[in-house]
């Protein structure tokens, strides 16, 4: 089992180490993930129902559906 885990680890580690042009792509992915999750999610896309309990969410959406009529 440990041997298998080690083999998998070396497979990935070696793969990443030997990358040439692929490194640019990984930097690109990292940059995108930071923009998406840190900037956009953190500052601009806070879920409207976040911080509310299940009961409060039911109440909130129920009111929205009734008042938007």
């Amino acid at each position: 089992m440990i041997k298998a885990i080690k083999a998998i680890y070396h497979f990935y580690a070696e793969g990443f180490r030997n990358m040439t042009w692929g490194r640019t792509l990984w930097w690109l992915i990292l940059l995108k993930v930071i923009i998406l999750f840190v900037v956009l999610r953190g500052f601009f896309f806070k879920p409207t129902l976040a911080g509310k309990s299940e009961k409060e969410r039911i109440e909130y959406v129920g009111n929205q559906l009734v008042t938007k009529q």
Binding site: E14, F16, L25, F45, T48, I58, G62, Q64, V66
Partner: protein, 495 residues
């Protein structure tokens, strides 16, 4: 006014994000199959040329994948922030397929994708080939779950509304997964990806031929891509036919808008462009019957009865039933703790009218008609470009087999210039599907204006322009890296 601006900007932002996401998905779906076929030829023949050919297209696949990855996540952010009413209202119906997709995609990508890129010299030929095919199959299965969720919005099935939780609850998982709209949409979207991948490979290969480079590689790539593309496009047509029948059955307003059909009837004609029609053709496409009944926009708004005796209510009747449903929902909430008997009656009224719940938010019958001009022309762009590209692939394959392609420079230019057209056809397809179903987020149950959160218009505008800037930047980066990789070339013709 403010609400209408909020609805408009929220809708536009979602359309922008979904459209951007769809730039990357079809190429992933199509290139994956093409490179898997190339690698299969390598494993079968042992010819290193095919290995190097497959590896080059894998490199292009990786660039597209890296820039496209996680762009779909933004859609989920928007659900939570801009469409919180919708997100809660749909309950686990929407969440379950998306969760399956997320988990499935992660494991498929983390394993097979890694073997495909890192494993050339480390695993056996057959195991590597299996990984490449599993990457292609995994991408298609990922698309399946997204399309199952989307199709539920077009044709909601397999659920019940629970007024206590204000959510829809799944009562039949298989009805959701095997939704006929989902099946057609899945094949239509995946095969359109094959078409995109094929046109892309043919176009780039023709560029090499025009430049007098990589001759053997380019001709071999064209051969494989044209065959995959022709099979894909014919399958797009077959699944499109099935989509048309379902649209007539479940979303007749979308079909009427796509055809600009104001007054329908038996033996309805198909409009090629305004003023040019094929008699009875729409009836054949929509019902597979030359005299089949197809309702027009006015018939749907006025209410109609099909020749089989199926009665469809008028817009006003549906709006009235919708208002009764919302009123009953409100009464149920008010009385469920204080007066159980009154609550039971209200719940019964709600259940009787739930089918029309969303119509209660509609103020005028005009709101029920999607933007006809946009849907009509998007449909023609999709079908027109799709048919032209099929013809192009057939001619390119014929010319390549006869050894004439390199003498037909105009054909190679046409193939190269077709790359943007296949993307336009794909985007037009989504415009038909998504703009055509307006004003609904969930057909008949929830219009966009009831689905949006109470957030400020300024916030949605800010994020819209932020997205425009970010998307443009990433797209420019992708195109730059891709062009660099293509210019560098596959380096496989040095024998």
């Amino acid at each position: 006014m403010i609400e209408s601006a909020l609805v408009g900007w929220s809708r536009l932002q979602f359309a922008l994000t979904a459209g951007y996401h769809w730039i990357f998905v079809p190429l992933t779906l199509g290139l994956a199959v093409i490179m898997a076929v190339m690698e299969s030829i390598y494993v079968k023949t042992g010819d290193e040329f095919w290995k190097r050919t497959a590896k080059f297209w894998m490199k292009i696949f990786a660039i597209n994948f890296a820039v496209g990855i996680a762009t779909g996540i933004i859609l989920e952010f928007e659900f939570g922030t801009n469409f919180s009413n919708y997100s809660w209202f749909v309950g686990d119906i929407f969440g379950a397929p998306l969760a399956i997709e997320g988990i499935f995609a992660f494991f498929m990508e983390a394993t097979f994708f890694a073997v495909m890129f890192f494993g050339w010299e480390k695993v056996g030929k057959r195991f590597h080939l299996a990984s490449t095919w599993f990457t292609a199959i995994g991408a298609a299965i990922s698309a399946l779950w997204i399309l199952v969720a989307n199709s539920w919005m077009q044709n909601p099935v397999g659920m019940d509304f629970n007024p206590d939780t204000v959510r829809h609850e799944m009562v039949d998982f298989w009805a959701v997964v095997l939704n006929p709209v989902a099946i057609s949409k899945f094949f239509h979207a995946v095969f359109s990806g094959w078409m995109t991948g094929s046109i892309f490979v043919i176009g780039i290969s023709c560029w090499y031929l025009l430049k007098g480079r990589e001759r053997k590689f380019a001709l071999a790539s064209i051969r494989v891509a044209a065959i995959v593309g022709i099979v894909g496009t014919l399958s797009v047509m077959l699944s499109g036919d099935s989509s048309g029948v379902q649209m007539a059955k479940y979303q007749p307003m979308k079909l009427a808008a796509a055809e600009g059909l104001e007054e329908g009837g038996k033996g309805a004609p198909f409009s090629i462009v305004p003023g040019v029609e094929i008699p009875n053709m729409l009836s054949i496409l929509a019902t597979h019957d030359i005299d089949g009944y197809v309702p027009g926009i006015n018939n749907i708004l006025d209410g109609y009865t099909t020749p089989e005796g199926e009665v469809h209510l008028s817009a006003e009747e549906k709006m009235e039933r919708g208002k009764i449903a919302i009123e009953a929902f409100s009464e149920y909430r008010d009385s469920k703790d204080s007066n159980p008997e009154e609550a039971a009656v209200a719940r019964e009224v709600l259940e009787e009218n739930m089918e029309y719940f969303g119509y209660g938010y509609i103020d005028s019958r005009e709101e029920l008609v999607p933007p006809v001009g946009l849907v009509y022309w998007a449909f023609r762009v999709m079908v027109g470009f799709g048919s032209a590209l099929l013809l192009l692939m057939m001619v390119v394959l014929w010319a390549e087999r006869r050894g004439r392609l390199e003498k037909m420079r105009w054909l190679m230019w046409a193939a190269l210039l077709s790359i943007p057209l296949v993307y336009l056809a794909g985007q037009a397809g989504w415009i038909v599907a998504e703009v055509g179903r307006q004003p609904w987020v969930i057909d008949g149950l929830l219009p966009v204006k009831a689905a949006v959160s109470s957030v400020s218009v300024a916030a949605v505008k800010t994020t819209f322009f932020l997205f425009v800037a970010i998307f443009t930047l990433f797209l420019a980066i992708e195109i730059r890296i891709m062009i660099k990789a293509i210019k560098e070339g596959p380096k496989v013709d040095v024998e």
